[in-house]
Structure formats: structure tokens, C-alpha cells
């Protein structure tokens, strides 16, 4: 940190000299009804890193990661994506969203489009790729998440696990710099959780920068570089998975872990 400050570099780097993809400082947010949901949250995500955010329900995890692609506006603080600050007038909003992929708990696939059309839609209309190029890349991605055969089906014809894998492929098709996952396995039947986690694990192995809200402890232990605990709109603890699960520093972390383990 001191190194980057003294040299006044453009981009923020961590101790190993890796640049930050997401910089957030003292982010505060109130909902329209006056509820103070984020109370000054700071978290930097560095390139190639997997950060898992945990915390009790209602603690503001979804709200927090949704500020990263400007799905939720915030009132105070600063968020930079790949060096571009999210302006409060939302001017550069589409440029930022192009670089940030998001996978939702409820998949949110487009039911009126085929799997292939779901994946090629944004590359064709936003990146302005030719249809043939978009489809070629989409097929490769569908292959990677293991559902190439389902390309011409509609989302409603697929199982939950398959739908979530399509959703991941759809986000990847935009070639984002960072992927956000908001409880991607919470809406799935238990037997389908693994196929989705496997895809995410491979993604992490290939070097994708990922921010995951999830309560899958096995996944966090194995894949995460850092685990963050959020409670009542604040970051309570930030630790390595090893330390976080074996001997957490904070009392609130211990309490949370005793509830989910």
C-alpha cells in the first residue's frame, strides 16, 4: 500500500503488485424508505482473486455487490471498476456493466430466447460482434459449462442447475473483467449445487476475478483467496479461508459460523 501511495500510481495494487479491479471506499447507502443498508463498506478486489462474502440474511451482501455494476445506486463513498469511477449521474453506466458479469440467485434467463440466443444477445447488440462470431464463441462457452447439447432449447426446458450454468455462460460471453455471483446455488435442488460449483471452480482456476456471495463452506475453503464477513451493513472480518473457518478473530464471525456449520 505504502508503495503505491508514494509512487502515486494510477491504479491501486496490492502487496504483490497485482492491480485492483474493484476499489470501493466507505460506501454508504440508504434505501428510499430511509433504511441505512450499507454503513461505510470498503473492499478492494484484485485481479485473479476470488473473494467470498458471507453473512447473515439481510446484512446487505446483495445490495453491496449490486453496487459494483450500478444496479443499486449509493449515496456516499467511491467505487471504481477497472479504474473508472461509477459516477452518481450514471453516465458511464453501460461501459461499466459491460466489464462486470453478474449471476443471480434466480438465474434470470430470458425465457423467450433459446439458450444460444440468451448467450449471444449481449455480444451482438452491445459488443456489436457478427452473429457468426458470437455464436461460435457462445458454443465454446456452452461447451465449457457442459451444456452444448441444450443450445437450441428454451430455458424453461432445462433443470435449475443447467439454467444457472447458462446464466454463467451468458455473463462470460461479454468477456467481463470480473464476475459477481449472488448466492448462485441457493435456489437449486441439492443434487444440482455441485455442477454449478464445479463450473465456478474451473472458472477460478482459469484466473477469473470473482466476488461470490455464498454459504458453500467447502467452495470457500477450497477456492477463495479471502473470506469476508458482513453484518448489519458493515464488514466485520476479512481473513484467509483457513483462518476464518478455523479460528475467526471476531465474536460475530464465530456466532455466524456456529449457525451455518
Amino acid at each position: 500500500m505504502t508503495q503505491s501511495e508514494t509512487e502515486a500510481q494510477e491504479t491501486l495494487t496490492n502487496a504483490q503488485g497485482v492491480e485492483a479491479v474493484i476499489v470501493s471506499q466507505d460506501v454508504e447507502k440508504w434505501y428510499d424508505n430511509g433504511f441505512h443498508v450499507l454503513k461505510g463498506v470498503s473492499l478492494n478486489i484484485y485481479k485473479g482473486e476470488v473473494v467470498v462474502i458471507m453473512g447473515p440474511s439481510g446484512s446487505g451482501k446483495s445490495t453491496f455487490i449490486r453496487t459494483f455494476n450500478a444496479l443499486e445506486p449509493y449515496q456516499k463513498g467511491k467505487i471504481e471498476i477497472d479504474g473508472i469511477e461509477i459516477a452518481h449521474d450514471l453516465k458511464n453506466i453501460e461501459a461499466i456493466r459491460r466489464e462486470v458479469g453478474m449471476v443471480f440467485q434466480q438465474f434470470n434467463l430470458f425465457p423467450h430466447l433459446t439458450v444460444l440466443q440468451n448467450v449471444t444477445l449481449a455480444p451482438i447488440w452491445v459488443r456489436r460482434w457478427k452473429k457468426s462470431k458470437a455464436e461460435e464463441i457462445a458454443m465454446r462457452l456452452l461447451d465449457r459449462v457442459g451444456i452444448r447439447e441444450q443450445a437450441y432449447k428454451y430455458p424453461g426446458q432445462l433443470s435449475g442447475g443447467q439454467q444457472q450454468r447458462v446464466a454463467i455462460a451468458r455473463s462470460l460471453a461479454m468477456q467481463p473483467k470480473v464476475m459477481l455471483f449472488d448466492e448462485p446455488t441457493s435456489a437449486l435442488d441439492p443434487e444440482m449445487v455441485r455442477e454449478v460449483l464445479d463450473v465456478m471452480r474451473n472458472l477460478a482456476k482459469d484466473g477469473m476475478t470473482m466476488v461470490c456471495v455464498t454459504h458453500e463452506v467447502g467452495f470457500a475453503r477450497e477456492v477463495a483467496d479471502r473470506v469476508v464477513l458482513m453484518d448489519e451493513g458493515m464488514l466485520v472480518e476479512e481473513n484467509t479461508p483457513e483462518a476464518f473457518f478455523n479460528n475467526p478473530k471476531e465474536e460475530r464471525s464465530q456466532k455466524f459460523l456456529s449457525q451455518i456449520l
Binding site: N69, L71, E94, A95, R97, R98, V100, G101, M102, F104, Q106, N108, L109, F110, P111, H112, L121, A122, W125, V126, Y154, G156, Q157, A167, R170, S171, M174
Partner: protein, 468 residues
């Protein structure tokens, strides 16, 4: 591996094959009460049907219809221009057959059992019904001709299966062709010729600029100049050409006061439907806009119009506007009628579309946005296609209402189908033939409304099959 079920794997689900007799017993006579109800209803329906059939074949005086078919169909449209009405019908039928061929090439063959049975039934009715019997040979010839044209259109359509979207352009253009055929007059005054003139002139200008600029060293300014020269020259030739040659190009003018009957009803309904859909869509989107002014205006429009009966809007158009505007500046009364229908229907249509928009979960918008799609793209690619599909039944219901509401224009003095019927029935020689006249047009209205309902159901199922 153990087998739990002893049945072979390909057992079919048990089929409920019931004989008609068991069906009747199970559904109509399954207990005392239902048996009595069935018998009573059969007697009532039987008596009513008998009365109806007797009236149709013996009691009714169908002369009021058979003597006035052309009035019912075209109102006071001049007799010597009937060929234009026929030509319009021919164009519509041919285009419909062609469209069916392109769109419905995956459907079964044209002459499926049901279609053949329907055609035979129609022929039988033509021969039996007192209204149509006098002209039976001619009408059956028309039926055959229509079927033949639909068949030819379908054959042609199969060859051009890739046409898809261009068909709607064809319909769009043909609307203006039909409008010109209906109205006649100097061809240069028609929308069609005007648009055509602009297009041809633009192409000519473009060609000129492209050809000449093959010569080296031509700046953008010179190119634009060349384009303008080509455009204006072509435009002038097209506009004054016929005058220079000393020929009048155009059809005899048929004043709008002569338009009437079913032809006018269809013109009003189709134009109203075509206009109220985009207006309603814009209002629905406006109502959800982020901009307070747009939202406020949309809400004001929708709520104002929905609080006023259609008949008062139409009266305003037909009776009040002429009081305020001096002679010569008033729009034609048919235009005023269409504007009234459009204003009214679009407010209701906006609410139908809004209901559809509200049924789309927020996650759809968020997913689209998180992929980097901007608001117009999110709307047009993700939200609207789904919302309109949900709203199809309500929208078509609104179209059907609009079609039926054209009858109100008969009350404010237009001679559309209801209006012309009223003036026919006012003729002393058909005194007391109200039932016959109204039954005839009721049948016509029913056929069109049912066709729309049927079409919307087919559209819905085909979309559902696709979306699952």
C-alpha cells in the same frame, strides 16, 4: 439390478376410450337433478332452434337483404366504380393467401378435412339459406375463386418462404394502394405516389452522385450537390411529367361521403387498429418513464380518455369540431372518426400493455442491464416481447371492441354497416323488416370478431409452443 415394476417399460398410459353412450350417461344423466336439467334444456333449445329455422326459411322477408347487398357492402359508392371495390377485395384475398403460404407453410395442407368440410358447409348454406339462394351459382363461383386465389397465393408463398418481415411491408404498402383505389383522384395527390416519388428521386440522386463520383477528386460537398440535383430533377419530372405530356393520370374521384357499408366499417376498424396500437404502446411506456413530464402527460391522457364515453368523443369529432373550425380547414369526417376511435382505444390499449409490462419480473430488466444493454435495447429485446405476449388476449379483445365500436359512428351519422342498415330499413318498401336487416349484419360482425378471436388463440398457442 432389481426390477421393482413387473410391467414392461413401454406400457402406455391407460386410455379413456368411452363410447358416446357412456359419455352421455356420465355427463348428462349422472343423477336425477342433472337428468331433469338436461331434458328441460334440450326442450328449450330445441324449441328455440325450431323457431329460428322456421323464421329463417319461412317467416323472414329476406328481400331487404338480397335487394340491397351492394348497399350493405359498399354503401353509396358509385355503381360504375364497383370494379375498384372488386379489385381491392381481390388484392386483399391474394395477399392473404400469399401470407398464409409464407407464414403457414408448416401448417397442414390447405385442403385438410376440416377446411374441406367448412367449404362444403358454406356451399350448402349458400344453396339452402333464403338470403343467398337466388344468387347461389354466382356466390359458389366466388367461393371457388377465393379458394383458388388463396391456393395460388399459398403455392407462391411456399416458394418465397424467406420473405418473413417483408410481408408486413407488403401489407403496409397495399393499404395505401387500397386507399387510393377507394378514393381515386389525381394519382399525384395520393400518399403512395408521394412516397414512391420521394423514393425514386432519392435513388436517382444517389445513382447520379455515385456514378459521377467515379470520376476522381469529388468532395463530399459536390457529392451532396449532385445528389440534390438528381433528386430535384427526378422529382419535378415525376410531378409535372404527366402534365407536360398532356395526359391526366388518375382515377375518378370517389368522395368520402360516398364511402359506406361494410367497406367503410373495415376501413375504420383496420385504420383505427393500426394506429391505436403504436399510440397505446407509447402511452404505456410513457406511463413508466423516469421523466416526470412524460409520465404525467401519459397518465393524464390515459385517465382522461378512460373517463369519457366513446360516443361523446365521436360526437365531439362529428358535431362540435365543425362548429369551431371554419369551412375548409375541417378535416374530413372519416378522418375525424378514425382519430376519435384511435384516441379512445389507445388509452385502453395502453393499460393492457401496462399490465403486460408489470407482469415481467424485475430480474429480467436487471439481467439485461447487467449485460450492458441500455434502456431502449432492454425494452425492445427483453421486456416488450414478453409483455406483449402476455397481453395478446387483452389487446385482441381491445381490437374487437374497436371493431364493434365503429357502429357508434352509425349513430353520429356515418353510413358504415349499421348506418347504411338504418337507412335501408327507413325505406318504406322494407317496412317492418328490422329483424332481417339486423340479423344479417349481426352475422357479419360475428364472423369478423370470431375470426379475430380465433386468430389470437392460434397466435397464443404457437407462441406458447415456442416458449414452453
Amino acid at each position: 439390478m432389481t426390477t421393482i415394476s413387473s410391467r414392461p417399460a413401454d406400457t402406455k398410459p391407460p386410455q379413456n376410450q368411452t363410447s358416446p353412450l357412456t359419455w352421455v350417461r356420465k355427463n348428462l344423466f349422472n343423477n336425477i337433478f342433472n337428468s331433469i336439467l338436461t331434458i328441460v334444456l334440450v326442450i328449450i333449445i330445441g324449441l328455440a332452434l325450431r323457431g329460428l329455422v322456421l323464421w329463417i326459411f319461412q317467416g323472414a322477408e329476406w328481400a331487404v337483404v338480397t335487394n340491397n347487398v351492394s348497399l350493405f357492402m359498399t354503401g353509396l359508392y358509385p355503381r360504375d366504380l364497383y370494379w375498384r371495390a372488386w379489385l381491392m377485395l381481390g388484392i386483399v384475398v391474394a395477399l392473404a393467401g400469399f401470407t398464409w403460404g409464407v407464414v403457414g407453410r408448416n401448417l397442414g395442407s390447405l385442403f385438410s378435412r376440416n377446411v374441406l368440410m367448412g367449404l362444403a358447409l358454406a356451399a350448402l348454406l349458400i344453396m339452402l339459406l333464403p338470403i343467398t339462394r337466388p344468387n347461389a351459382p354466382r356466390l359458389i363461383a366466388y367461393e371457388a375463386l377465393t379458394v383458388a386465389m388463396a391456393w395460388l397465393g399459398q403455392q407462391a408463398g411456399r416458394k418465397f418462404s424467406g420473405l418473413g418481415m417483408k410481408l408486413s411491408i407488403g401489407w403496409f404498402a397495399s393499404y395505401f394502394v387500397l386507399l387510393y383505389l377507394l378514393a381515386g383522384g389525381d394519382v399525384r395527390a395520393s400518399v403512395l405516389y408521394f412516397v414512391g416519388m420521394i423514393a425514386v428521386s432519392a435513388i436517382a440522386g444517389w445513382q447520379l452522385a455515385a456514378r459521377v463520383s467515379l470520376l476522381p477528386k469529388l468532395g463530399l460537398f459536390e457529392k451532396i450537390l449532385l445528389f440534390l440535383v438528381g433528386f430535384i430533377a427526378t422529382y419535378l419530372v415525376l410531378w409535372y411529367g404527366s402534365w407536360l405530356l398532356g395526359v391526366e393520370v388518375g382515377l375518378d374521384r370517389a368522395s368520402t361521403s360516398k364511402w359506406g357499408g361494410l367497406m367503410l366499417t373495415l376501413l375504420l376498424a383496420i385504420t383505427g387498429i393500426a394506429l391505436c396500437f403504436p399510440v397505446g404502446l407509447l402511452m404505456a411506456l410513457g406511463r413508466r418513464s423516469q421523466l416526470p413530464i412524460v409520465r404525467g402527460l401519459s397518465i393524464a391522457y390515459i385517465e382522461l380518455i378512460r373517463g369519457v364515453p366513446l360516443i361523446s368523443i365521436l360526437f365531439m369529432g362529428q358535431v362540435m369540431i365543425p362548429l369551431f373550425l371554419p369551412e375548409g380547414t375541417r378535416p374530413d369526417r372519416i378522418v375525424r372518426a378514425i382519430v376519435g376511435l384511435t384516441i379512445f382505444s389507445s388509452a385502453y390499449l395502453a393499460e393492457n400493455v401496462r399490465a403486460g409490462l408489470q407482469s415481467i419480473p424485475r430480474g429480467q430488466t436487471e439481467a439485461a442491464q447487467s449485460l450492458g444493454l441500455n434502456t431502449p435495447l432492454t425494452m425492445s429485446l427483453i421486456v416488450l416481447p414478453q409483455a406483449l405476449k402476455v397481453a395478446i388476449p387483452a389487446i385482441v379483445g381491445q381490437f374487437i371492441s374497436l371493431f364493434q365500436d365503429t357502429t357508434l359512428l352509425g349513430i353520429v351519422g356515418l353510413v358504415e354497416l349499421l348506418g347504411i342498415t338504418q337507412s335501408i330499413l327507413a325505406n318504406p318498401s322494407y317496412l317492418g323488416d328490422y329483424a332481417e336487416g339486423y340479423a344479417f349484419i349481426a352475422a357479419i360482425y360475428w364472423v369478423f370478431c370470431y375470426a379475430m378471436t380465433y386468430g389470437s388463440r392460434r397466435l397464443e398457442t404457437s407462441l406458447n409452443n415456442e416458449l414452453r
